[in-house]
Symmetry: C2
Subunit: 302 residues, 2 copies
Protein backbone atom coordinates (compact mmCIF):
# COMPACT_ATOMS: atom_id res chain seq x y z
CA UNK A 1 0.00 0.00 0.00
CA UNK A 2 1.32 3.46 -0.82
CA UNK A 3 2.50 5.83 1.91
CA UNK A 4 1.10 9.25 2.70
CA UNK A 5 2.07 12.33 4.73
CA UNK A 6 0.03 15.13 6.30
CA UNK A 7 0.92 18.80 6.52
CA UNK A 8 -0.90 21.28 8.78
CA UNK A 9 -0.56 25.04 8.47
CA UNK A 10 -1.46 27.08 11.56
CA UNK A 11 -2.38 30.57 10.41
CA UNK A 12 -3.85 33.59 12.16
CA UNK A 13 -7.45 32.71 11.26
CA UNK A 14 -7.52 29.04 10.26
CA UNK A 15 -5.85 25.66 10.55
CA UNK A 16 -5.42 24.00 7.14
CA UNK A 17 -4.48 20.34 6.67
CA UNK A 18 -3.46 18.51 3.48
CA UNK A 19 -2.56 14.91 2.76
CA UNK A 20 0.02 14.16 0.04
CA UNK A 21 1.06 10.96 -1.67
CA UNK A 22 4.62 9.81 -2.44
CA UNK A 23 4.76 12.05 -5.53
CA UNK A 24 3.77 15.08 -3.46
CA UNK A 25 0.31 15.37 -4.99
CA UNK A 26 -2.49 16.56 -2.72
CA UNK A 27 -5.05 13.83 -1.97
CA UNK A 28 -7.25 15.59 0.60
CA UNK A 29 -7.62 18.92 2.40
CA UNK A 30 -9.52 20.10 5.49
CA UNK A 31 -9.91 23.36 7.36
CA UNK A 32 -10.68 24.09 11.01
CA UNK A 33 -11.13 27.49 12.62
CA UNK A 34 -8.07 28.77 14.48
CA UNK A 35 -9.11 29.12 18.14
CA UNK A 36 -6.89 32.23 18.41
CA UNK A 37 -3.91 33.14 20.54
CA UNK A 38 -6.08 33.95 23.56
CA UNK A 39 -7.54 30.43 23.59
CA UNK A 40 -4.13 29.15 24.67
CA UNK A 41 -1.66 26.52 23.56
CA UNK A 42 -3.76 23.42 24.39
CA UNK A 43 -6.72 24.60 22.30
CA UNK A 44 -4.57 25.40 19.28
CA UNK A 45 -2.69 22.09 19.54
CA UNK A 46 -6.01 20.24 19.66
CA UNK A 47 -7.16 22.11 16.52
CA UNK A 48 -3.95 21.02 14.76
CA UNK A 49 -4.52 17.39 15.75
CA UNK A 50 -8.17 17.48 14.68
CA UNK A 51 -7.44 19.10 11.31
CA UNK A 52 -4.75 16.49 10.71
CA UNK A 53 -7.12 13.67 11.60
CA UNK A 54 -9.69 15.09 9.15
CA UNK A 55 -7.35 14.10 6.30
CA UNK A 56 -5.83 10.88 7.67
CA UNK A 57 -8.09 8.78 5.43
CA UNK A 58 -7.98 5.02 6.00
CA UNK A 59 -4.90 5.14 8.23
CA UNK A 60 -2.50 7.56 9.92
CA UNK A 61 0.23 9.20 7.84
CA UNK A 62 3.84 8.11 7.98
CA UNK A 63 4.66 11.51 9.52
CA UNK A 64 3.14 14.91 10.16
CA UNK A 65 4.56 18.31 9.17
CA UNK A 66 3.45 21.48 10.93
CA UNK A 67 3.86 24.95 9.46
CA UNK A 68 3.41 27.91 11.81
CA UNK A 69 3.80 31.68 11.51
CA UNK A 70 6.67 32.73 13.76
CA UNK A 71 10.12 31.95 15.06
CA UNK A 72 11.05 28.26 15.11
CA UNK A 73 14.46 27.30 16.50
CA UNK A 74 17.25 25.95 14.31
CA UNK A 75 16.56 22.25 14.90
CA UNK A 76 12.78 22.51 14.72
CA UNK A 77 12.15 21.51 18.33
CA UNK A 78 10.80 24.74 19.83
CA UNK A 79 8.38 27.39 18.67
CA UNK A 80 9.94 30.55 20.13
CA UNK A 81 7.56 33.39 19.35
CA UNK A 82 4.76 34.36 16.97
CA UNK A 83 2.64 37.49 17.26
CA UNK A 84 -0.59 35.65 16.33
CA UNK A 85 0.06 32.32 18.05
CA UNK A 86 -0.08 31.26 21.72
CA UNK A 87 3.30 29.48 21.98
CA UNK A 88 6.26 31.11 23.74
CA UNK A 89 9.49 29.08 23.77
CA UNK A 90 7.37 25.92 23.63
CA UNK A 91 8.73 22.40 22.79
CA UNK A 92 6.07 22.20 20.08
CA UNK A 93 7.47 19.27 18.10
CA UNK A 94 7.44 16.97 21.12
CA UNK A 95 4.03 18.16 22.32
CA UNK A 96 2.42 17.52 18.93
CA UNK A 97 4.18 14.18 18.56
CA UNK A 98 2.77 13.12 21.94
CA UNK A 99 -0.71 14.39 21.11
CA UNK A 100 -0.89 12.72 17.68
CA UNK A 101 1.27 9.65 18.26
CA UNK A 102 3.02 10.36 14.94
CA UNK A 103 6.53 11.58 14.09
CA UNK A 104 6.28 15.37 13.73
CA UNK A 105 8.38 17.97 11.89
CA UNK A 106 7.85 21.69 12.69
CA UNK A 107 8.99 24.65 10.62
CA UNK A 108 8.21 28.30 10.01
CA UNK A 109 5.28 28.72 7.58
CA UNK A 110 7.23 30.68 5.00
CA UNK A 111 10.10 28.19 5.07
CA UNK A 112 7.52 25.45 4.42
CA UNK A 113 5.97 27.43 1.56
CA UNK A 114 9.42 28.12 0.10
CA UNK A 115 10.26 24.40 0.24
CA UNK A 116 7.04 23.65 -1.65
CA UNK A 117 7.55 26.41 -4.25
CA UNK A 118 11.16 25.31 -4.76
CA UNK A 119 10.25 21.64 -5.29
CA UNK A 120 7.03 22.01 -7.19
CA UNK A 121 6.09 25.65 -7.73
CA UNK A 122 7.15 29.05 -8.99
CA UNK A 123 10.79 28.75 -7.88
CA UNK A 124 11.46 25.34 -9.42
CA UNK A 125 15.02 25.31 -10.77
CA UNK A 126 15.83 28.75 -9.35
CA UNK A 127 19.10 29.18 -7.41
CA UNK A 128 18.27 32.34 -5.43
CA UNK A 129 14.82 33.64 -4.58
CA UNK A 130 12.87 35.50 -1.95
CA UNK A 131 9.49 34.21 -0.89
CA UNK A 132 7.08 36.69 0.68
CA UNK A 133 3.82 35.26 2.01
CA UNK A 134 0.97 37.64 2.75
CA UNK A 135 -1.71 36.26 5.01
CA UNK A 136 -2.83 37.66 8.34
CA UNK A 137 0.74 38.99 8.59
CA UNK A 138 3.86 38.66 6.42
CA UNK A 139 6.11 35.62 6.34
CA UNK A 140 9.30 35.25 4.40
CA UNK A 141 11.97 32.84 3.29
CA UNK A 142 15.31 33.15 1.56
CA UNK A 143 16.60 30.67 -1.00
CA UNK A 144 20.31 30.74 -1.87
CA UNK A 145 22.14 28.09 -3.87
CA UNK A 146 18.84 26.27 -4.29
CA UNK A 147 18.22 25.77 -0.56
CA UNK A 148 16.17 27.55 2.10
CA UNK A 149 18.60 29.60 4.23
CA UNK A 150 17.95 29.13 7.94
CA UNK A 151 20.29 31.71 9.46
CA UNK A 152 22.47 31.27 12.53
CA UNK A 153 19.54 30.44 14.84
CA UNK A 154 16.94 29.22 12.33
CA UNK A 155 15.25 32.64 12.18
CA UNK A 156 16.17 34.01 8.75
CA UNK A 157 13.39 35.44 6.57
CA UNK A 158 11.36 37.16 9.29
CA UNK A 159 10.46 40.07 7.05
CA UNK A 160 7.11 41.02 8.57
CA UNK A 161 8.55 42.93 11.50
CA UNK A 162 11.12 44.98 9.64
CA UNK A 163 10.35 48.64 10.40
CA UNK A 164 9.14 50.53 7.33
CA UNK A 165 7.61 53.60 9.02
CA UNK A 166 9.39 55.31 11.95
CA UNK A 167 6.94 55.66 14.86
CA UNK A 168 4.36 54.01 12.64
CA UNK A 169 1.32 51.88 13.49
CA UNK A 170 1.52 49.74 16.62
CA UNK A 171 2.04 46.04 15.90
CA UNK A 172 0.93 42.97 17.87
CA UNK A 173 4.61 42.09 18.29
CA UNK A 174 5.11 45.15 20.50
CA UNK A 175 7.01 47.26 17.97
CA UNK A 176 5.81 50.12 15.75
CA UNK A 177 5.80 50.62 11.99
CA UNK A 178 6.33 46.94 11.11
CA UNK A 179 6.00 46.09 7.41
CA UNK A 180 3.03 43.80 8.04
CA UNK A 181 1.06 46.72 9.47
CA UNK A 182 1.03 48.15 5.92
CA UNK A 183 1.04 45.03 3.79
CA UNK A 184 -1.05 42.07 5.04
CA UNK A 185 -4.60 40.81 5.29
CA UNK A 186 -5.11 42.93 8.40
CA UNK A 187 -3.72 46.01 6.64
CA UNK A 188 -6.11 45.37 3.74
CA UNK A 189 -9.04 45.31 6.16
CA UNK A 190 -7.86 48.43 7.97
CA UNK A 191 -7.31 50.47 4.82
CA UNK A 192 -10.72 49.43 3.51
CA UNK A 193 -12.42 50.22 6.83
CA UNK A 194 -10.92 53.70 6.85
CA UNK A 195 -12.14 54.36 3.29
CA UNK A 196 -15.62 52.80 3.66
CA UNK A 197 -16.43 53.52 7.27
CA UNK A 198 -17.38 49.86 7.89
CA UNK A 199 -15.60 46.54 8.32
CA UNK A 200 -15.18 44.03 5.50
CA UNK A 201 -13.03 40.93 5.87
CA UNK A 202 -10.23 40.06 3.47
CA UNK A 203 -12.23 37.69 1.21
CA UNK A 204 -15.00 40.33 0.93
CA UNK A 205 -12.49 43.00 -0.13
CA UNK A 206 -11.00 40.54 -2.62
CA UNK A 207 -14.43 39.75 -4.13
CA UNK A 208 -15.20 43.47 -4.47
CA UNK A 209 -11.82 44.17 -6.08
CA UNK A 210 -12.31 41.35 -8.59
CA UNK A 211 -15.73 42.89 -9.40
CA UNK A 212 -14.01 46.24 -10.11
CA UNK A 213 -15.00 48.15 -6.98
CA UNK A 214 -12.90 51.33 -6.77
CA UNK A 215 -12.43 51.35 -3.00
CA UNK A 216 -11.35 47.72 -2.92
CA UNK A 217 -8.99 48.25 -5.85
CA UNK A 218 -7.50 51.21 -4.01
CA UNK A 219 -7.00 49.06 -0.90
CA UNK A 220 -5.07 46.47 -2.90
CA UNK A 221 -3.06 49.23 -4.58
CA UNK A 222 -2.10 50.52 -1.12
CA UNK A 223 -0.87 47.21 0.25
CA UNK A 224 0.62 46.32 -3.15
CA UNK A 225 2.66 49.51 -3.15
CA UNK A 226 3.95 48.68 0.34
CA UNK A 227 4.71 45.17 -0.90
CA UNK A 228 6.88 46.64 -3.65
CA UNK A 229 8.66 49.11 -1.37
CA UNK A 230 9.54 46.39 1.11
CA UNK A 231 10.50 43.95 -1.62
CA UNK A 232 12.89 46.54 -3.08
CA UNK A 233 14.72 46.74 0.24
CA UNK A 234 15.07 42.96 0.33
CA UNK A 235 16.22 42.86 -3.29
CA UNK A 236 18.93 45.44 -2.45
CA UNK A 237 20.06 43.25 0.42
CA UNK A 238 19.85 39.77 -1.20
CA UNK A 239 19.98 40.34 -5.00
CA UNK A 240 17.76 37.33 -5.85
CA UNK A 241 16.85 36.04 -9.32
CA UNK A 242 13.17 35.98 -8.44
CA UNK A 243 10.67 37.31 -5.90
CA UNK A 244 7.75 34.94 -5.26
CA UNK A 245 4.64 36.28 -3.53
CA UNK A 246 2.27 33.82 -1.85
CA UNK A 247 -0.23 33.66 0.98
CA UNK A 248 -4.00 34.06 0.99
CA UNK A 249 -4.00 37.78 0.15
CA UNK A 250 -2.01 37.13 -3.03
CA UNK A 251 -4.91 35.12 -4.51
CA UNK A 252 -6.15 38.39 -6.04
CA UNK A 253 -3.17 38.27 -8.45
CA UNK A 254 -2.17 41.29 -10.49
CA UNK A 255 -4.48 43.66 -8.62
CA UNK A 256 -1.87 43.26 -5.85
CA UNK A 257 1.23 42.36 -7.87
CA UNK A 258 0.85 45.12 -10.49
CA UNK A 259 1.20 47.98 -7.98
CA UNK A 260 3.92 45.95 -6.23
CA UNK A 261 6.00 45.65 -9.41
CA UNK A 262 5.73 49.40 -10.08
CA UNK A 263 6.69 50.29 -6.52
CA UNK A 264 9.55 47.77 -6.38
CA UNK A 265 11.14 49.18 -9.53
CA UNK A 266 10.54 52.75 -8.29
CA UNK A 267 12.25 51.98 -4.96
CA UNK A 268 15.42 50.31 -6.27
CA UNK A 269 18.54 52.37 -6.88
CA UNK A 270 20.21 52.35 -10.27
CA UNK A 271 17.52 50.40 -12.15
CA UNK A 272 18.91 51.73 -15.44
CA UNK A 273 22.13 49.87 -14.61
CA UNK A 274 21.04 46.74 -12.76
CA UNK A 275 18.81 43.72 -13.46
CA UNK A 276 15.49 43.92 -11.61
CA UNK A 277 14.18 40.49 -10.58
CA UNK A 278 10.73 39.38 -11.67
CA UNK A 279 8.00 39.48 -9.04
CA UNK A 280 5.71 36.49 -9.60
CA UNK A 281 2.81 34.80 -7.80
CA UNK A 282 3.41 31.62 -5.83
CA UNK A 283 2.07 28.69 -7.80
CA UNK A 284 0.77 26.50 -4.99
CA UNK A 285 -1.60 29.13 -3.62
CA UNK A 286 -2.69 29.42 0.00
CA UNK A 287 -1.96 25.71 0.54
CA UNK A 288 1.78 26.12 -0.04
CA UNK A 289 2.60 26.18 3.68
CA UNK A 290 0.67 22.99 4.41
CA UNK A 291 2.02 21.25 1.29
CA UNK A 292 5.56 22.29 2.18
CA UNK A 293 5.10 20.99 5.74
CA UNK A 294 3.94 17.65 4.33
CA UNK A 295 6.92 17.58 1.94
CA UNK A 296 9.27 18.31 4.86
CA UNK A 297 7.65 15.44 6.78
CA UNK A 298 8.33 13.25 3.74
CA UNK A 299 11.88 14.51 3.01
CA UNK A 300 13.13 15.35 6.51
CA UNK A 301 13.98 18.84 7.67
CA UNK A 302 17.37 19.92 6.33
Amino acid sequence: MSEHWVGVDVGGTKVLAVRIDEAGDVEATATRPMPGRAAGAEAVEEAVALAARDVYGARPPRALGVSAAGLVDADGERFLFGAHLPWRDTPLRRRLAERTGRPVVVDNDANCAAHAELLAGAARGVRSALLITIGTGIGGAVVLDGRVVRGAHGLAGEFGHVQVVPDGLACECGLRGCWEQYCSGRALERVTRVALGRHLDGPEVTALALAGDEVALQSFASIGTWLGVGAAGLVSAFDPELVVVGGGVSAVGDLLLGPARTAMRGSLQGTAYRPVPELVPARLGPEAGAIGAALLARDGRS
Copy 2:
Protein backbone atom coordinates in the same frame (compact mmCIF):
# COMPACT_ATOMS: atom_id res chain seq x y z
CA MET B 1 62.40 38.38 -3.23
CA SER B 2 59.00 38.34 -1.55
CA GLU B 3 55.84 39.28 -3.44
CA HIS B 4 53.48 42.10 -2.65
CA TRP B 5 49.99 43.26 -3.62
CA VAL B 6 48.28 46.66 -3.62
CA GLY B 7 44.69 47.47 -2.74
CA VAL B 8 43.02 50.80 -3.51
CA ASP B 9 39.74 51.92 -1.97
CA VAL B 10 37.82 54.61 -3.87
CA GLY B 11 35.55 56.38 -1.40
CA GLY B 12 33.37 59.46 -1.61
CA THR B 13 36.08 61.81 -0.32
CA LYS B 14 39.43 60.05 -0.68
CA VAL B 15 41.38 57.37 -2.49
CA LEU B 16 43.28 55.12 -0.08
CA ALA B 17 46.02 52.70 -1.14
CA VAL B 18 47.73 49.96 0.90
CA ARG B 19 50.48 47.48 0.09
CA ILE B 20 50.40 44.05 1.74
CA ASP B 21 52.96 41.27 1.93
CA GLU B 22 52.36 37.54 1.45
CA ALA B 23 51.05 37.20 5.01
CA GLY B 24 48.52 39.99 4.42
CA ASP B 25 50.31 42.47 6.67
CA VAL B 26 50.20 46.14 5.64
CA GLU B 27 53.61 47.46 4.56
CA ALA B 28 52.66 50.95 3.32
CA THR B 29 49.67 53.24 2.93
CA ALA B 30 48.96 56.42 0.95
CA THR B 31 45.99 58.73 0.48
CA ARG B 32 45.01 60.99 -2.42
CA PRO B 33 42.00 63.31 -2.58
CA MET B 34 39.01 61.89 -4.49
CA PRO B 35 38.45 64.23 -7.47
CA GLY B 36 34.69 63.71 -7.12
CA ARG B 37 32.02 62.32 -9.39
CA ALA B 38 31.75 65.55 -11.37
CA ALA B 39 35.45 65.38 -12.32
CA GLY B 40 34.63 62.39 -14.49
CA ALA B 41 35.88 58.84 -14.95
CA GLU B 42 39.35 59.65 -16.34
CA ALA B 43 40.25 61.88 -13.39
CA VAL B 44 39.15 59.31 -10.81
CA GLU B 45 40.96 56.48 -12.61
CA GLU B 46 44.13 58.57 -12.66
CA ALA B 47 43.79 59.18 -8.90
CA VAL B 48 43.48 55.41 -8.38
CA ALA B 49 46.62 54.77 -10.44
CA LEU B 50 48.58 57.51 -8.64
CA ALA B 51 47.54 56.35 -5.16
CA ALA B 52 48.57 52.81 -6.11
CA ARG B 53 51.93 54.00 -7.41
CA ASP B 54 52.51 55.86 -4.12
CA VAL B 55 52.79 52.47 -2.38
CA TYR B 56 54.49 50.38 -5.10
CA GLY B 57 57.82 50.65 -3.31
CA ALA B 58 60.84 49.28 -5.16
CA ARG B 59 58.77 47.51 -7.84
CA PRO B 60 55.17 47.05 -9.03
CA PRO B 61 52.89 44.67 -7.14
CA ARG B 62 51.99 41.24 -8.44
CA ALA B 63 48.40 42.45 -8.84
CA LEU B 64 46.13 45.34 -7.89
CA GLY B 65 42.76 45.15 -6.11
CA VAL B 66 40.25 47.98 -6.33
CA SER B 67 37.44 48.50 -3.87
CA ALA B 68 34.67 50.91 -4.87
CA ALA B 69 31.35 52.00 -3.35
CA GLY B 70 28.58 50.81 -5.64
CA LEU B 71 27.28 48.04 -7.86
CA VAL B 72 29.93 45.78 -9.40
CA ASP B 73 28.77 43.01 -11.75
CA ALA B 74 28.99 39.34 -10.83
CA ASP B 75 32.34 38.64 -12.52
CA GLY B 76 34.01 41.89 -11.46
CA GLU B 77 34.40 43.31 -14.96
CA ARG B 78 32.01 46.26 -14.89
CA PHE B 79 31.22 48.97 -12.38
CA LEU B 80 27.48 49.43 -12.91
CA PHE B 81 26.42 52.30 -10.69
CA GLY B 82 27.45 54.21 -7.59
CA ALA B 83 25.80 57.37 -6.29
CA HIS B 84 29.14 59.01 -5.38
CA LEU B 85 31.27 57.73 -8.28
CA PRO B 86 31.48 58.73 -11.95
CA TRP B 87 31.26 55.28 -13.55
CA ARG B 88 28.05 54.05 -15.23
CA ASP B 89 28.18 50.52 -16.68
CA THR B 90 31.91 50.98 -17.18
CA PRO B 91 34.39 48.14 -17.95
CA LEU B 92 36.43 49.32 -14.98
CA ARG B 93 38.62 46.26 -14.52
CA ARG B 94 39.95 46.43 -18.08
CA ARG B 95 40.38 50.22 -18.01
CA LEU B 96 42.44 50.12 -14.81
CA ALA B 97 44.48 47.15 -16.02
CA GLU B 98 45.35 49.12 -19.16
CA ARG B 99 46.17 52.27 -17.20
CA THR B 100 48.38 50.54 -14.62
CA GLY B 101 49.78 47.70 -16.70
CA ARG B 102 49.03 45.32 -13.82
CA PRO B 103 46.45 42.55 -13.37
CA VAL B 104 43.44 44.15 -11.65
CA VAL B 105 40.60 42.75 -9.54
CA VAL B 106 37.55 44.97 -8.83
CA ASP B 107 34.93 44.47 -6.14
CA ASN B 108 32.37 46.38 -4.14
CA ASP B 109 33.95 48.15 -1.14
CA ALA B 110 31.88 46.37 1.46
CA ASN B 111 32.56 42.97 -0.10
CA CYS B 112 36.27 43.82 0.10
CA ALA B 113 35.97 44.90 3.72
CA ALA B 114 34.00 41.74 4.55
CA HIS B 115 36.69 39.59 2.94
CA ALA B 116 39.32 41.34 5.09
CA GLU B 117 37.29 41.10 8.31
CA LEU B 118 36.56 37.41 7.61
CA LEU B 119 40.20 36.51 6.98
CA ALA B 120 41.89 38.71 9.54
CA GLY B 121 39.39 40.78 11.52
CA ALA B 122 36.28 40.81 13.66
CA ALA B 123 34.49 38.01 11.75
CA ARG B 124 37.35 35.52 11.80
CA GLY B 125 35.91 32.03 12.26
CA VAL B 126 32.31 33.25 12.02
CA ARG B 127 29.93 31.35 9.70
CA SER B 128 27.27 34.03 9.19
CA ALA B 129 27.69 37.77 9.61
CA LEU B 130 26.53 41.10 8.30
CA LEU B 131 29.06 43.80 7.60
CA ILE B 132 27.83 47.39 7.56
CA THR B 133 30.37 50.04 6.53
CA ILE B 134 29.61 53.67 7.30
CA GLY B 135 31.62 56.19 5.33
CA THR B 136 30.27 58.89 3.03
CA GLY B 137 27.36 56.49 2.50
CA ILE B 138 26.55 52.95 3.71
CA GLY B 139 28.00 49.79 2.22
CA GLY B 140 27.15 46.25 3.17
CA ALA B 141 28.09 42.65 2.77
CA VAL B 142 26.55 39.35 3.75
CA VAL B 143 28.55 36.34 4.92
CA LEU B 144 26.83 32.93 4.95
CA ASP B 145 28.59 29.61 5.45
CA GLY B 146 31.85 31.50 5.88
CA ARG B 147 31.78 33.15 2.44
CA VAL B 148 30.73 36.55 1.09
CA VAL B 149 27.35 36.08 -0.65
CA ARG B 150 27.29 37.77 -4.05
CA GLY B 151 23.63 37.36 -5.03
CA ALA B 152 22.28 36.43 -8.45
CA HIS B 153 23.94 39.39 -10.21
CA GLY B 154 26.77 40.20 -7.80
CA LEU B 155 24.76 42.95 -6.09
CA ALA B 156 23.88 41.51 -2.68
CA GLY B 157 24.52 43.66 0.40
CA GLU B 158 23.49 47.04 -1.04
CA PHE B 159 21.96 48.18 2.23
CA GLY B 160 22.49 51.94 1.88
CA HIS B 161 19.55 52.53 -0.41
CA VAL B 162 16.95 50.53 1.47
CA GLN B 163 14.09 52.94 2.22
CA VAL B 164 13.74 53.63 5.95
CA VAL B 165 11.56 56.76 5.82
CA PRO B 166 8.62 56.98 3.37
CA ASP B 167 8.92 60.23 1.36
CA GLY B 168 12.06 60.96 3.35
CA LEU B 169 15.17 62.96 2.48
CA ALA B 170 16.20 63.03 -1.17
CA CYS B 171 19.22 60.83 -1.92
CA GLU B 172 21.92 61.24 -4.57
CA CYS B 173 20.78 57.91 -6.05
CA GLY B 174 17.49 59.51 -7.09
CA LEU B 175 15.31 57.87 -4.43
CA ARG B 176 13.96 59.25 -1.16
CA GLY B 177 14.33 58.12 2.43
CA CYS B 178 17.36 55.88 1.84
CA TRP B 179 19.02 54.52 4.97
CA GLU B 180 22.29 56.32 4.24
CA GLN B 181 20.50 59.67 4.38
CA TYR B 182 20.06 59.00 8.12
CA CYS B 183 23.16 56.98 8.96
CA SER B 184 26.39 57.98 7.22
CA GLY B 185 29.16 60.57 7.29
CA ARG B 186 26.96 62.96 5.33
CA ALA B 187 24.07 62.39 7.72
CA LEU B 188 26.40 63.13 10.63
CA GLU B 189 27.38 66.43 9.06
CA ARG B 190 23.79 67.35 8.24
CA VAL B 191 22.47 66.59 11.71
CA THR B 192 25.32 68.59 13.27
CA ARG B 193 24.80 71.53 10.90
CA VAL B 194 21.10 71.68 11.77
CA ALA B 195 21.92 71.71 15.50
CA LEU B 196 24.89 74.12 15.36
CA GLY B 197 23.91 76.39 12.49
CA ARG B 198 27.32 75.95 10.83
CA HIS B 199 29.16 73.23 8.90
CA LEU B 200 31.66 70.84 10.48
CA ASP B 201 33.11 67.91 8.58
CA GLY B 202 32.97 64.33 9.88
CA PRO B 203 36.43 64.27 11.52
CA GLU B 204 35.64 67.58 13.31
CA VAL B 205 32.38 66.17 14.68
CA THR B 206 34.24 63.03 15.76
CA ALA B 207 36.91 65.06 17.58
CA LEU B 208 34.25 67.09 19.37
CA ALA B 209 32.32 63.97 20.37
CA LEU B 210 35.47 62.35 21.76
CA ALA B 211 36.02 65.55 23.77
CA GLY B 212 32.53 65.23 25.24
CA ASP B 213 30.73 67.96 23.27
CA GLU B 214 26.97 67.55 23.77
CA VAL B 215 25.92 68.50 20.24
CA ALA B 216 28.43 66.14 18.65
CA LEU B 217 27.42 63.32 21.00
CA GLN B 218 23.80 63.92 20.07
CA SER B 219 24.71 63.73 16.37
CA PHE B 220 26.36 60.34 16.86
CA ALA B 221 23.39 59.19 18.94
CA SER B 222 21.11 60.11 16.04
CA ILE B 223 22.99 58.23 13.36
CA GLY B 224 23.72 55.40 15.81
CA THR B 225 20.02 54.98 16.51
CA TRP B 226 19.35 54.78 12.76
CA LEU B 227 22.19 52.28 12.49
CA GLY B 228 20.46 50.07 15.05
CA VAL B 229 17.02 50.39 13.48
CA GLY B 230 18.34 49.42 10.06
CA ALA B 231 20.51 46.65 11.49
CA ALA B 232 17.45 45.18 13.22
CA GLY B 233 15.68 44.89 9.87
CA LEU B 234 18.68 43.10 8.39
CA VAL B 235 18.95 40.81 11.41
CA SER B 236 15.27 39.86 10.98
CA ALA B 237 15.93 39.04 7.34
CA PHE B 238 19.32 37.24 7.64
CA ASP B 239 19.58 36.01 11.27
CA PRO B 240 23.40 36.36 11.45
CA GLU B 241 25.67 35.36 14.35
CA LEU B 242 27.35 38.75 14.31
CA VAL B 243 26.92 42.30 13.00
CA VAL B 244 30.22 44.02 12.20
CA VAL B 245 30.27 47.81 11.76
CA GLY B 246 33.15 49.40 9.87
CA GLY B 247 33.93 52.45 7.76
CA GLY B 248 35.45 55.79 8.70
CA VAL B 249 32.51 57.00 10.78
CA SER B 250 32.74 53.93 13.03
CA ALA B 251 36.17 55.04 14.27
CA VAL B 252 34.35 56.85 17.11
CA GLY B 253 33.50 53.44 18.62
CA ASP B 254 30.89 53.10 21.34
CA LEU B 255 29.65 56.67 20.94
CA LEU B 256 28.10 55.29 17.74
CA LEU B 257 27.75 51.60 18.60
CA GLY B 258 26.16 52.12 22.05
CA PRO B 259 23.06 53.87 20.69
CA ALA B 260 23.04 51.39 17.80
CA ARG B 261 22.92 48.38 20.14
CA THR B 262 20.07 49.88 22.13
CA ALA B 263 18.08 50.70 19.00
CA MET B 264 18.76 47.32 17.40
CA ARG B 265 17.45 45.43 20.41
CA GLY B 266 14.49 47.82 20.66
CA SER B 267 13.58 47.26 17.00
CA LEU B 268 13.70 43.45 16.93
CA GLN B 269 10.56 41.43 17.56
CA GLY B 270 10.46 38.80 20.27
CA THR B 271 13.84 39.62 21.87
CA ALA B 272 12.75 37.82 25.03
CA TYR B 273 12.56 34.64 22.96
CA ARG B 274 15.32 34.93 20.37
CA PRO B 275 19.11 35.35 20.42
CA VAL B 276 20.19 38.90 19.52
CA PRO B 277 23.50 38.99 17.64
CA GLU B 278 26.38 41.04 18.96
CA LEU B 279 27.08 44.32 17.19
CA VAL B 280 30.85 44.83 17.15
CA PRO B 281 33.34 47.23 15.54
CA ALA B 282 35.30 46.13 12.48
CA ARG B 283 38.85 45.36 13.54
CA LEU B 284 40.72 46.59 10.49
CA GLY B 285 39.38 50.11 10.70
CA PRO B 286 38.89 52.45 7.75
CA GLU B 287 41.55 50.54 5.78
CA ALA B 288 39.46 47.35 5.65
CA GLY B 289 38.24 48.00 2.10
CA ALA B 290 41.71 48.61 0.72
CA ILE B 291 43.18 45.66 2.65
CA GLY B 292 40.37 43.41 1.44
CA ALA B 293 40.95 44.55 -2.15
CA ALA B 294 44.65 43.69 -1.80
CA LEU B 295 43.74 40.29 -0.28
CA LEU B 296 41.36 39.64 -3.20
CA ALA B 297 44.18 40.55 -5.61
CA ARG B 298 46.32 38.00 -3.76
CA ASP B 299 43.67 35.26 -3.41
CA GLY B 300 41.62 35.78 -6.57
CA ARG B 301 38.00 36.89 -6.59
CA SER B 302 35.70 33.97 -5.76
